[in-house]
Symmetry: D2
Subunit: 101 residues, 4 copies
């Protein structure tokens, strides 16, 4: 059963406040992994099997080090629901259906 996971990988102490080049390198790793994902302005949301996603997080965490960073803060939030199948699209739809029209 799939979990939904939000990941943010941020290098500290780089000389520039912009981190988009590191995020782009991470996103390429996500694309290569072939898992469902959604890039948001605050992180990347993944959908898939938990162990597969944790293994992907491990690789993503390494990306900024490979690009020269010496300190990386990675934040992961796992939403794992086992009473019914959960998907990224389904979670958003469940909220939108309950909006008062």
């Amino acid at each position: 059963m799939a979990v939904i996971m939000e990941v943010s990988v941020v290098p500290l102490g780089t000389g520039s406040p912009s981190v988009s080049r590191y995020v782009a390198k991470c996103l390429e790793v996500v694309k290569d992994a072939g898992v469902a994902y959604q890039l948001t302005p605050m992180g990347t949301i993944l959908e898939g099997e938990l162990d597969e996603l944790l293994s992907l997080v491990r690789r993503l965490h390494e990306v900024p080090f490979g690009a020269g960073a010496v300190r990386v803060v990675t934040t992961v939030k796992i939403d794992d629901r086992r009473d019914k199948a959960a998907t990224m699209a389904g979670k958003v739809r469940a909220v939108e259906e309950k909006l008062e029209s």
Copy 2:
């Protein structure tokens, strides 16, 4: 200058693992506030003036209590960049432009 903020408001100890009805009530408050927002599978992302958004967070945090919850965990991440204007769309675009094609 605008900040980008991600907010998640979650009630604990309700009898059901589903929290979408609480999220929908929060989203109605966001819509009424008239700020730019994006609903994601893991939270809501807001764009606007910092003090306005913090005041909105304060109201969102109260929503599940008004719907019967007795414990609420609210998570807020503020991304505030003052060397250049930041927008939700601009942050995603900056990453996509750097992807190797």
Copy 3:
């Protein structure tokens, strides 16, 4: 009734991977505010009235900008329980009492 809040204020793009001097400046603001707090290796935990703490967070978020940073990411987690009084010490004690000896 008091809430428990965890706060982390991190500058990006400072050129040095160390951020302890920014954290120390924040901690001085916390001390001056006179609220109960606990410094941990991953953030600062506060205990107090919600509006007072949110106002303090607003001031903490400004600290690295005052020290030269141009981008700051502030993360806040609010734990608000209204069925009984919650304290930092009480939360830890509730866990320790349930450990199998």
Copy 4:
């Protein structure tokens, strides 16, 4: 080289706002793992080798399911610094040394 990691494992929809019995079960798994840890009012902070800690997180995430929960939200923050050795005690000390006396 060690990383510092903060972990929070929270069951949703349990019917009771108290989650300390789940946290206690997690803490027993942490103790059995033999890694350095610090229980805080908002989570558990771990210090150790990254892969070992990720494997521990995977086991911690499973604990509330084993105790009857059907939905679990696990949050992990990894602070990984490779330019110098980092410890939980050293991070707190670095801040306290910079406080104006």
